[in-house]
């Protein structure tokens, strides 16, 4: 018996596969869930996918959807510019925690306040992966990175950013705000579906943070990686729908 080929989303762009993310990286899982969601909603031809700088950059030709790559932190305003000009398009901004919560935080915050009808997906792996593992806004207290080599000192650098929580405070009820994790795939799919539906229905701002893995910079083996994601990260960053126009939130 031959090998069973893995199911590949129709909206994936095959010439760019296999993808270039590190082994064990969570981006592939997020992008698979996003691809399946795009397929399920039948929106491949309406999507404009925009990616940031950082590891998320490697998704610039990931989908067989019109895609554009921006600058570090600037994916949000580019998506806003497209959506404001062509409301019939479905704009998906894809970024990391550095791009969204640090250098692009003013764009994230203000687009949330304005309830822009865009969907933003932010992958939280607690560090700047592409540039070599520096401390991020999401780095956990005590976590070692290249710029916090003795562990993050919260007295000096503050506590990790809880993005969805602050965005939920800034947005009206028509916004969708959730935190997912690559360790709960079906839930991730559901949250992404809701985040896209919310834009398609013209309700408002849609934001999903996804907890993800970075074994390369965490310097962890498979078991340690999964432990850090499921135990340490989830403890600080609770999973669930924080704000949803689609009935009761899923905690």
């Amino acid at each position: 018996m031959g090998m069973i080929a893995p199911a590949i989303p129709k909206s994936w762009y095959l010439p760019s596969k296999p993808h270039k993310f590190c082994p064990g990286c969570g981006h592939g899982i997020v992008l698979k869930a996003l691809g399946e969601t795009i397929d399920e909603l039948g929106i491949q031809d309406q999507v404009v996918f925009g990616c940031d700088i950082g590891c998320s950059l490697l998704s610039w030709n990931f989908f067989a959807c019109d895609s554009t790559q921006t600058h570090h932190g600037r994916t949000t305003p580019v998506m806003v510019g497209i959506k404001r000009s062509r409301p019939e398009l479905i704009t998906i901004g894809y970024m990391g925690d550095g791009g969204g919560y640090s250098i692009g935080s003013q764009h994230l915050l203000n687009s949330a306040v304005r309830n822009e009808k865009v969907t933003l997906i932010l992958v939280n792996n607690t560090n700047y992966g592409m540039t070599g593992g520096q401390m991020a806004p999401t780095t956990l207290p005590g976590q070692k990175t290249e710029t916090s080599p003795f562990g993050r000192d919260v007295d000096l650098t503050g506590y990790p950013t809880r993005g969805p929580e602050f965005i939920a405070e800034l947005t009206p009820d028509s916004a969708y705000v959730a935190r997912a994790t690559v360790s709960k795939y079906k839930q991730l799919r559901r949250f992404l579906r809701n985040a896209l539906r919310n834009q398609m229905e013209g309700n408002g701002f849609s934001f999903v943070e996804v907890l993800s893995t970075c074994p390369t910079n965490w310097r962890t083996n498979a078991q340690q990686t999964w432990h850090f994601l499921e135990e340490e990260m989830e403890q600080y960053f609770p999973i669930g729908e924080i704000k949803t126009p689609f009935g009761k939130g899923d905690k």
Binding site: Y13, D45, D66, T70, V80, I82, S85
Partner: protein, 362 residues
Amino acid sequence: MPKIFEANKKAFITGNEAVAWAALAAGAEIMFGYPITPQNEVMHYWTRLAPEYGKGFLQTEDELSAGFTVCGAVQSGKKAFTATAGPGNVLMQEPFGMAEAMRLPLFAVIQQRGGPSSGTVVYSQQEVTLTTFGGNGEGHRIVYSTATHQEIFDYTIKGFNAAWKYRFPTFLLGDGYQAKMREPLEMYNPEERGIEMVKTYPLVGLEGKIGEDREPQHLCNIYSLEEELYEVVMKFAAEHEAISPELVEYEEKECEDAEIIILSHGVVSRAADDAVKILRAQGIKAGYFRPITLRPFPQKQLREAINRRPARKLLIAESAYGQLDRLTKQEIYGETVAIENLFMPGVGIIDYDIINKVKSIL
């Protein structure tokens, strides 16, 4: 495109208002902006005109966002623009750089104010270097420096067309004086002057089913290999150089027998024009040369003007400390004409400033 003006419309308005009307006449569809003096009234007038003509506007959180939302809008095929000044122009160099890298038809109006830093909100010509060569690139841009409200109107229309035709980011470089003062001009529908507006088209959000009718678009501004980027930049450079002859614009007066040529741009050229007339009346053979395009620069035409008599001296007059001077020297390298200067950073220059300078150096 709907007619904006019933007939040619004579008006007595500020330069900022002229920008808003010209953008409307040029078929601009959406403006993104952030408040900064002295460009604010571009937004003020646009937001009053927008609902009547079905146009869009967004006041963004900062100039980075204003520039990048314009980048997104033009990628989706809409005629979009912004306006800024001073520190706002500094912040916008990041999106302007992306527009350069991705060949986006971005159009921006720059109303120069004093610098460095917050400087003044009033006036200067200190954003020449920034607007022509800002960013971490090679200045593959188109920059029109206007001197009158009629030109603000004309070159806003022309600027949109240049951006969409050549797909290099295009700038109208004005200043606080031009932004705020009122003067007469004639406004018109471009089509009635035989000006055809260049059709816009999207780079993303295209028609058709992906995989059946068309391939997906994948736009990028970053490359893995040195050689890939090299190819891209060399291609841009070649294209920019190739279109330069049809883009350059300039004004030349009385250079045939001029002993001294006064070189200036923008609103200062009006003082230079007056100064030349007065100097001529006094028997001094002065000439006038004004680049209208600062990028690309009319270097061939300036060399010709210098070498006609040839002129003994070139006086560069500007409301900056040598920004036009540096630009000119790099463009006319090799000419032996003596170059003198009148640098008045951040303040206005009147005819007598130029006349006194000319008399002191002849």
